[in-house]
Symmetry: C2
């Protein structure tokens, strides 16, 4: 809403991906992208949409997230448990995960662990390297 350009380029990116720019996809896209880099689950995004009076079903949120993921507009992050997280930052970067809060954060580039790409086994190539730095609240003392 705050920025016509954002909406226009989102529409264009959807079309390039062969996705019709529907009300729901535009609205969800705006929610995802208008506040910078974000990490969320399908359920979180759905609740946010509902709070914003965007009529959209959870099934459509899942569809949209997977379609956006396929179009490389966002990416999935493997954490664990049942929940799947999504990230609007598709560039190469790593994550902190605070287990007790179920919260994901980007590792700042300056703090980013240096990962030397290993030699993959014969016949295979590396598609991606995920680094998850697990955190817990420091016990005072």
């Amino acid at each position: 809403m705050k920025d016509g350009m954002t909406e226009k380029s989102l529409t264009g990116r959807l079309r390039s991906a062969g996705l019709r720019p529907t009300k729901q996809r535009i609205a969800l896209g705006n929610l995802m992208f208008e506040h910078g880099d974000r990490h969320f689950t399908a359920e979180m995004l759905h609740e946010e949409a509902v709070r914003d009076n965007i009529p959209v079903s959870l099934a459509t949120v899942y569809n949209t997230l997977h379609q956006f993921s396929g179009a490389r507009l966002i990416r999935e992050i493997a954490v664990e448990g049942a929940k799947t997280y999504f990230d609007t930052n598709t560039s190469n970067h790593y994550h902190y995960f605070i287990e007790s809060e179920g919260r994901l954060m980007d590792v700042e580039a300056s703090e980013s662990p240096m990962v030397k790409t290993p030699e993959p086994p014969e016949g295979y190539e590396i598609t991606q390297i995920d680094v998850l730095v697990r955190l817990r609240r420091k016990t005072t003392g």
Copy 2:
């Protein structure tokens, strides 16, 4: 079966963890540990047990895996999707994951990516760093 020592020390390790060395736990422990480092899901281990005529329910397999995990005899690996993987190698090491096959492998120590521990955010401490190297079959050509 092949080695009395293995079974004896497993019994001991179970006792130390406050776990009674029951038929099922011993049998599952032997399955897990007798072939060196292994990666598996609860369901894989259950099927293997059934094939070996070890009477054990899937619920008990889950219980056992979590108890062993709590006792640091094995560890969980976050991959993604619903499935949880377990690893008999509890030392610090990283993994390859072949998505198309759902298969996990250890990254050989010599090939291990060098990860520089990042500075955690204020008030938090790092409990673990997971590195998952995603692979796909190389297309010939």
